[in-house]
Amino acid sequence: MADISCDFVGIRSPNPFWLASAPPTDKAYNVNRAFEAGWGGVVWKTLGFDPPVVNVSSRYGAVQWNGQRVAGLNNIELITDRPLQVNLDEIRQVKRDWPDRALVVSLMVPCDEASWKSILPLVEDTGADAVELNFGCPHGMSERGMGSAVGQVPEYVEQVARWVKQHSRLPCIVKLTPNITDIRHPARGAFKGGADAVSLINTINSITSIDLDLMAPTPTVDGKGTHGGYCGPAVRPIALAMVAEIARDPQTLGKPISAIGGIGTWRDAAEFIALGAGSVQVCTAAMHYGFRIVDDMISGLGEWMDSKGFRRLEDFRGRAIGNVTDWQFLNLNYDIKARIDQDKCIKCGLCHIACEDTAHQAILQQKNGVRHFEVVDAECVGCNLCMHVCPVDSCITMHRVDTKPAANWTTHPNNPLRKVEA
């Protein structure tokens, strides 16, 4: 079996699956259960100064989609609401009990040097492996000048990272907020400030739904609601794009990334690792199904690596980065056509109506007066829409038909800014 052990900026763990800083890592009881279940590491739920914050009752809103519960999850919970010393004592004990697991401590204190300087030695003293700076939470703490209020200003990110590296020998991971136009800027700031790694994405600012009886957002606290942080499977594509942007940014190329955002299976994890992630962090999937999901993540990743001949995570880490490019470099002569397998087709008509109403009128619905769905190659632009809406697995597939050599926009005659070959 492939070796899936992980060394992320010197933080060692038997596998790359960490629990993200969140309710599942709020206290020793949960973390012990997570380690018993096999998780490689945890990022302890964010610590702050005493007196601790107060949390509200009713904290989560969830998006159900077509019967799938928790397709997306939104929370309005703040950082830990337990006294600092209780958390520090538990962290010390847990690290002592589980020396082979990664134990990273998430921190959020006011944006001044004294605050950071005072909390770092307390964490270092517990024996924890690293700190993660929570510059992400878009709700509550941001109103107090912390969380995403810091993460949205690259200069602040850089400044705090520098303080942390000055006042602690621990590896420093900066957790980035996605609630920003260009994720590369805070990432560059973090690394410029000396951070060892970034982790992303934190939650996306969101309102889950409006209760049409209460006329209030959910989750509703005594008739009122507020925006919260969105996570879960629905945000994964956004996280993939942001991780990819940092991974291929010349200014941060090769820098360590701990990936977060809708990861719930080994495949999700493998995709982020292929984009360069050194470890992956999980929260919503564990909150949905419990810690036991790590079993299949460990097994699935190992089995898949074996099937591909990868012996270590490094063997495929970052392999997809080179294939993430700008649109302008895509081959405009690449051409694919949809094919409908008539033996598999159940004649639901979804491909036809999708193409007819919203795409290229390339799928006929009748042949000789009989219900029959067939692609008109001359009209098909290879957009994949029919393949995606078809409910039958592998019924519609795309087939390459082009013969011309590759050419992209940079040299296309329609491009006013094309490069003229010398």
Partner: protein, 457 residues
């Protein structure tokens, strides 16, 4: 209960509680969660095959989407707008050969979407709350008589009321509903038919006249005189006889009478049923009679049909259900003689049958007897045609059905007909509803055209 050798017909064969359970809803409704799961299985096909398979053309994907989006009111409006008896049809339609039979999800590893159960889910609340989904149109002043308050008549009456016509609906029985009230197995529609009729009539503009039978209390000529149009939805009021020796013996009765008695019975512990029941026939009435006999406590119920199972009017699903209920089905046997002692039935003698080289049914000469206390005849119903009307107008009848054109007009001007009394191919509630709906559209069009010609009113 002690057994009698002859005429063992008795009430209370089962305890009251068991009887109550046996005649409770055979297919309990989906709850919200179950309905959502079922609705989410619908692929929302384009130009969906299920719509084409429904005689009333209900836009099934649209109503199912309504369920999935918590738009039950919209879903109910889609269903009942196409089929005003969508509630009972959700319970009694042979969905496995109609909508569900055409569902694209049918396959070796996938069951069809539960369209019938979803239709019931979307409509049940309407009748429970007596919700008004449709309004009577502005009064046209036109008067239409609807004869027969079965599915065809009710659908016709409702559509005419929506169009603003004044409808009088007459029925030979004391309750409206037709076969839904008197002829369908109790466990399929417990307590439902009357509620649905009450809701349907609540649109207003429909006068209900019970116990008025055509030919007995009503005269077609008078109806034509008093109304701008007449719709006949009189069903098939007569019952075929076997025409064999012994048919007059006690213990021999029509299955439809047995079912009607059961449906109107308020205390099933008082309802008599034979210990050994034989049913002759192959349609849904035969199946319903046999199963209900078993559920009343009959020791045995045997359906004997003169052809093979594939020729039975009852669907494969109904046959399977009957067998599951302990009903024995004997194929390829026709009744020859009913045997009795002291005026009471004791056995039915059958001759085995086969098809000859020309495909005709013939007896093989081999005979057998089935012991019985009760024989229920379910060999089909026949039209009781109204007598020639006073003006000498005669309703054209062909092959035992009232002849209508594609607009459901009979040979008599101003008289339309629909439902089983005209139907050839399918004796389905849903088909009768469609007939009534289309006849109403035809009547409305005719009355409005007449108005236009006369310069209004």
């Amino acid at each position: 209960m002690p057994r009698k050798l002859v005429a063992d017909i008795a009430a209370g064969r089962l305890p009251a509680q068991q009887l109550q359970d046996n005649f409770a809803d055979v297919a309990p409704p989906l709850d919200r969660q179950g309905a959502l799961i079922a609705a989410q299985r619908c692929y929302y096909c384009y130009d969906a095959p299920c719509i084409k398979a429904c005689p009333t053309g209900i836009d099934i994907p649209t109503f199912i989407r309504g369920i999935a989006t918590d738009n039950l009111r919209g879903a109910a409006r889609v269903i009942l707008g196409a089929n005003i008896l969508g509630g009972v049809c959700a319970r009694v339609c042979p969905t496995e050969i109609l909508c569900e039979g055409s569902c694209v999800r049918n396959g070796p590893e996938s069951a069809p979407v539960q369209i019938g159960a979803l239709q019931r889910h979307a409509t049940d609340w309407v009748f429970d709350e007596n919700a008004a989904l449709f309004e009577r149109g502005a009064d046209t002043g036109r008067r239409v008589a609807v004869v027969g308050a079965g599915p065809a008549g009710l659908a016709c009456a409702h559509a005419l009321a929506r169009a603003g016509h004044r409808v009088s609906i007459f029925d030979a029985r004391d309750k409206a509903g037709g076969l839904n009230e008197y002829g369908i197995a109790a466990y399929k529609v417990p307590g439902f038919a009357a509620r649905e009729v009450q809701w349907l009539l609540s649109i207003g503009g429909i006068d209900w006249h019970a116990n008025r039978a055509l030919g007995r209390d009503l005269d077609l000529a008078a109806l034509r005189n008093d109304h701008d149009a007449v719709f006949l939805g009189i069903g098939l009021g007569g019952v075929n006889a076997l025409g064999i020796e012994g048919e007059q013996l006690s213990g021999v009765r029509n299955a439809v009478d047995f079912i009607a008695q059961l449906r109107q019975c308020s205390d099933l512990t008082q309802l008599h049923v034979g210990r050994r029941v034989v049913v002759i026939g192959g349609g849904n009435t035969a199946i319903d009679a046999a199963i209900q006999s078993r559920r009343l406590g009959a020791e045995s119920a045997t359906i004997v049909y003169r052809r093979g199972a594939a020729s039975m009017g009852a669907t494969g699903a109904e046959q399977a259900f009957a067998k599951n209920e302990g009903v024995t089905i004997i194929e390829w046997a026709q009744p020859r003689r009913i045997v009795g002692v002291d005026g009471a039935l004791t056995a039915v003698e059958f001759e085995y049958t086969q098809l000859d080289d020309a495909g005709r049914l013939t007896g093989t000469g081999d005979r057998m007897r089935v012991q019985a206390d009760t024989l229920l005849k379910a060999i089909g119903q026949v039209l009781v045609a109204p007598a020639a009307d006073g003006d000498g107008g005669l309703l054209d009848i062909d092959a035992g059905r009232i002849v209508v054109n594609e607009r459901f007009q009979t040979s008599l001007p101003g008289v339309w007909a629909g439902g089983d009394c005209v139907g050839g191919n399918a004796d389905l509630t849903v088909q009768a509803v469609e007939d009534g709906k289309r006849a109403a559209a035809s009547i409305h069009e005719t009355l409005m055209r007449r108005d236009a010609r006369n310069g209004g009113g």
